[in-house]
């Protein structure tokens, strides 16, 4: 690559219709190199549909889409092949003689070098998801697509995984699209937030909270309120629920 383009994803007018129901009604999206973008929306708003389109898993969508460089995906479920040991799962589809070596390095990065010979069924939920991250990392992606990757984990494991994601991003500098329904997670991890509503990007918010971040940095709760309102969630429990 002589001139590195500034964006890894450029999408315009992405549309997707399922059996007469329009889920995406023309989405425009641009993700810059190294940027973490969180995609929020109510359930059924088409977040995962958009991610699957970007991952090239949906052939029925229309619109213009250009992705630059390599892409890797982490799903909500780990999706490891039960019949391959951890290291072989990570090395799946990695070309070249050094595939095993690279798989080992990736496992070291997620802190699971000692489990490389284990079967996926022998791992805990958090460990499995860390292997899924290693499987994505080993591809040295320019764009990492994350579909609620911490959604199935317990609260404590989720916090550890979010911290791990922060470290990995700092180390590798990949761009990421994080689909999530967790407003705090989005505010902790993302540089920019997109809210999907009625099949379109309804709102775009730059998160200028600095790094490292915690839930008690100034400005956090203000943004949280704003986001929850955008997602049609009553912010104050005593407030009447608007129709």
């Amino acid at each position: 690559m002589a001139s590195r383009p500034a964006s890894v994803v450029a999408a315009t007018g992405i549309r997707r219709v399922f059996a007469g129901t329009t889920v995406l009604a023309g989405v425009d999206l641009r993700i810059r190199r190294g940027e973490v973008v969180a995609l929020l929306g109510e359930s059924g708003s088409g977040k995962s549909t958009l991610l699957r389109i970007l991952a090239g898993l949906d052939q029925e969508a229309t619109g213009e889409l250009t992705t630059t460089g390599s892409t890797a995906v982490v799903f909500q479920e780990h999706r490891l092949l039960p019949w391959k040991r951890v290291a072989d799962n990570v090395a799946l589809g990695v070309r070249g003689r050094d595939a095993r070596e690279r798989a080992r390095t990736a496992l070291e990065e997620v802190g699971l070098a000692d489990r490389s010979g284990a079967w996926p069924s022998e791992l805990s939920g958090g460990q499995s998801q860390r292997v899924a991250f290693a499987r994505a990392l080993v591809r040295e992606p320019d764009l990492l697509l994350l579909d609620e990757p911490f959604g199935a984990l317990d609260a404590l494991t989720r916090l550890k995984m979010q911290a791990l994601f922060g470290r990995l991003h700092a180390g590798h500098g990949f761009a990421a699209l994080l689909v999530t329904h967790d407003v705090e997670e989005a505010l902790l991890l993302a540089d920019r937030l997109l809210v999907l509503d009625q099949g379109r990007i309804a709102e775009e918010i730059e998160v200028d909270l600095g790094r490292p971040r915690a839930v008690d940095v100034p400005g956090f709760s203000g943004l949280r309120r704003r986001l929850l309102t955008l997602l049609h969630v009553p912010v104050d429990l005593e407030a009447p629920i608007s129709p």
Partner: protein, 252 residues
């Protein structure tokens, strides 16, 4: 599974009772000979090579039949399981043919292929075909689509996805089919060998019946049973080795 000594009690008592009843003359020799007579016949026929010869002949038929029926089933099952066109073209006739009791085809098969070796091998092949076809098909169809998708995002080509995801995922089902095919294969062999044999365990038994050598008839049954038992044991061992990744799943 650990063998508990207590489980041996009833079989030993039964055989001992049988032996006792035969010795006491309660069981007439020409109806059911004593187990010791059967063992003596086994010893005698092993020494003069008759048993080995017939056994080899039967094994050859079983192996050939399983190989022919099994490979055909594997290919067709894979075509129907992997390709939509294959499914549309292959599956309906196979599903229809499956309803035929294949042992009922003996008269027709005799007209088609005669009463020689081809009859016996065809019967075994037919018996082995359906369980392997059905389980290959079901195994491939039952693959978790999400795993195939994940493999796609890992950059695996279609052939690589078949090799790394579809085939290993269909393995447990395939082994089940294989075990059912072996059972059906032995059954078909027993039936086939009673039609005009010149050799084989079935011929040995039919000939013994003509000379009222009941102990050889019973010996033939024992050998058939042992073959079934041994082949199932071998398959289960192979299955345990091939599918060792399932151990963790079972334990949890």
């Amino acid at each position: 599974m650990r063998l508990r000594p207590r489980r041996l009690i009833t079989p030993i008592v039964l055989v001992a009772g049988w032996e006792g009843a035969a010795r006491a003359g309660v069981l007439p020799h020409d109806k059911l000979p004593a187990p010791s007579d059967v063992a003596a016949a086994a010893w005698r026929l092993s020494l003069d090579g008759t048993l080995g010869l017939h056994l080899l002949e039967s094994l050859e038929r079983a192996a050939l039949g399983l190989l022919i029926g099994g490979s055909l089933a594997l290919v067709l099952g894979a075509v129907a399981g992997l390709l939509r066109t294959g499914d549309d073209l292959v599956d309906p006739p196979v599903q229809a043919a499956r309803m035929l009791p294949h042992l009922g085809l003996v008269p027709l098969l005799i007209i088609w292929v005669g009463i020689g070796e081809s009859l016996k091998i065809s019967l075994v092949a037919l018996g082995a075909f359906f369980p392997i076809y059905l389980n290959t098909y079901a195994g491939i169809r039952g693959i978790d689509e999400r795993l195939v998708e994940a493999a796609r995002t890992c950059g695996l080509t279609q052939l690589e996805r078949i090799r790394h995801v579809v085939l290993p995922g269909a393995m447990p089902s395939l082994f089940l089919g294989l075990r059912l095919a072996f059972a059906a294969g032995w059954l078909s062999l027993v039936v086939g060998e009673q039609v005009n044999g010149q050799s084989g365990l079935g011929f040995m038994m039919m000939e013994a019946r003509d000379f009222s050598q009941t102990e050889i008839v019973v010996l033939g049954l024992v050998v058939y049973a042992s073959l079934g038992l041994l082949s199932d044991l071998a398959l289960r061992t192979a299955e345990r080795r091939t599918l060792s990744w399932r151990r963790g799943l079972r334990a949890s």
